[in-house]
Symmetry: C2
Subunit: 286 residues, 2 copies
């Protein structure tokens, strides 16, 4: 499935030979050949729940992944986290230059919305507008970009667990939630209560992902991680591990996993892949 | 009309009191209280051509303006043009900080798409998807962001007139074209040939706007302009004035004005406001 996403991204990104070449090269460099593709996996798994056409899910999955990658490119810039390593390669601004990296991110974002607007993803155009709205909200000032702003302001600040959660619901959670909902919306309509339950699952798995990320960041070394390890602690950024300790963070992850499975249970076998993915997300940390 | 746009933007931007406050303050600082609002004016004037509801035009006009403003905020950053003055005020990263300015731009962009997705702008949802696609393409790597990349690469390079035009069609022209088309699409459908003619007008007026901007930049002083004057020449950036001379650039502007009016003529009185706007754009340079 990761390979399927890779092929789709490869196909949907502008070719490197088309002008402006350097910008397109930077966009492809940032997006292709790396990443766990957790959001596309979640999008496809949620689409399986509603019997969505995999070709439609490819588009929705790539749109979400493009938003994710653009945020990484900008987050790595010197004025933000100033990081030199991402997915085992030099970051985009190191490989190219700062201006090109910023513009690559700036251009990846509208490409995501373009994909959702120009491909037929649902039988109802109005539902597709809802998908666009969901992705835009997830990327915006009360979603991912807002979470990053809160994260910036939190460096060196003592945060409570509630404040940390508030940040992560936006910074990471909003886009993971969008991945799940967009996948499900590509298929047969869910009843309102079912959609609410799936949304509840999506919010849990978003937090779970962040808790696991903090555990990995504190425990792994840079080579394993493919990005600079331990940097949050080095910068005095609050994390689940700094607040709860390593054992406490693992306990939190286990609790969230149980809650995620509980939210999926009423869907029965249709949610099998979402359940497997939930386990995959947790297990990479142990 | 500028005031109407100001009120709409004021209403559609997240309130400064809502978290994350500093990000929302920066977004509002960058967007409100300045600018000629040429794109919103063009959007409303094009909507008048097709009898569009002004309330719908407000949304489309604000979406285009938000994309424009985000590009200014990023363009002013130290890794790009490194400018300190915009619309007569300190640039966003000077007033706040670089990271906040970058995130403000990052968050203004999805807000534009969100507006087009969450408000009813046409009677057909499919047509609204077309509007979203148009705006996304205009903002993307083969539109505005691509034009900025070409502009970056061109600093200190000798460009031909054709190459300069190629850049401006993307950097400025794409979004001006989107402003006109989105405005028109909010109203009664145009016949294919009429839409093509309006599109032709939009492309001309986009170039015209840039020629005039170059003339102003070469001739005016910083106080009049509200942004740093003469900076393109100082950085050895090619402009219409550097390639054609001031008189040649004014001649070019006059020719484009004539061509713009010729494209509008068959629409008769319905295009009156578009014609007036065209003159307004040129006359500010003489």
């Amino acid at each position: 499935m990761q390979q399927r996403t890779e092929h789709s991204l490869e196909r949907l990104l502008p070719p490197a030979a088309i002008a402006p070449q350097r910008l397109h090269q930077a966009m492809r460099y940032a997006v292709l050949g790396g990443g766990k593709r957790v959001r596309p996996l979640l999008c496809h798994a949620a689409g399986e729940l509603t019997g969505a056409d995999p070709a439609r899910l490819d588009i929705a999955a790539c749109a979400v992944e493009l938003i994710h990658v653009y945020s990484l490119v900008h987050d790595d810039l010197p004025c933000m986290d100033d990081d030199v390593l991402r997915r085992g390669k030099p970051t985009c601004h190191v490989e190219f230059d700062q201006a090109t990296a910023m513009l690559a991110g700036d251009a990846l974002q509208p490409l995501a919305f373009q994909l959702l607007a120009e491909h037929s993803l649902t039988d109802e155009a109005q539902q597709q507008l809802d998908m666009l709205r969901l992705l835009a909200q997830a990327a915006g000032s009360r979603g991912m970009a807002g979470g990053q702003a809160i994260d910036l302001a939190a460096v060196g600040q003592p945060l409570s667990l509630a404040e940390l959660e508030y940040m992560h619901i936006r910074k990471t959670g909003a886009l993971i939630r969008a991945a799940v909902l967009l996948g499900a919306l590509c298929g047969k309509p869910l009843a309102e209560a079912e959609l609410a339950r799936l949304d509840h699952y999506a919010k849990i798995v978003g937090l779970l992902f962040q808790v696991v990320d903090d555990i990995l960041d504190s425990a792994a070394d840079t080579a394993t991680l493919g990005k600079t390890a331990g940097k949050d602690a080095a910068r005095n950024k609050p994390t689940y591990v700094s607040l709860l300790g390593l054992a406490g963070a693992k306990e939190k992850a286990a609790e969230l996993r149980t809650a995620a499975h509980a939210a999926l249970a009423p869907f029965g076998d249709a949610a099998r892949r979402l359940g497997e993915l939930t386990n995959f997300i947790v297990d990479r940390s142990f």
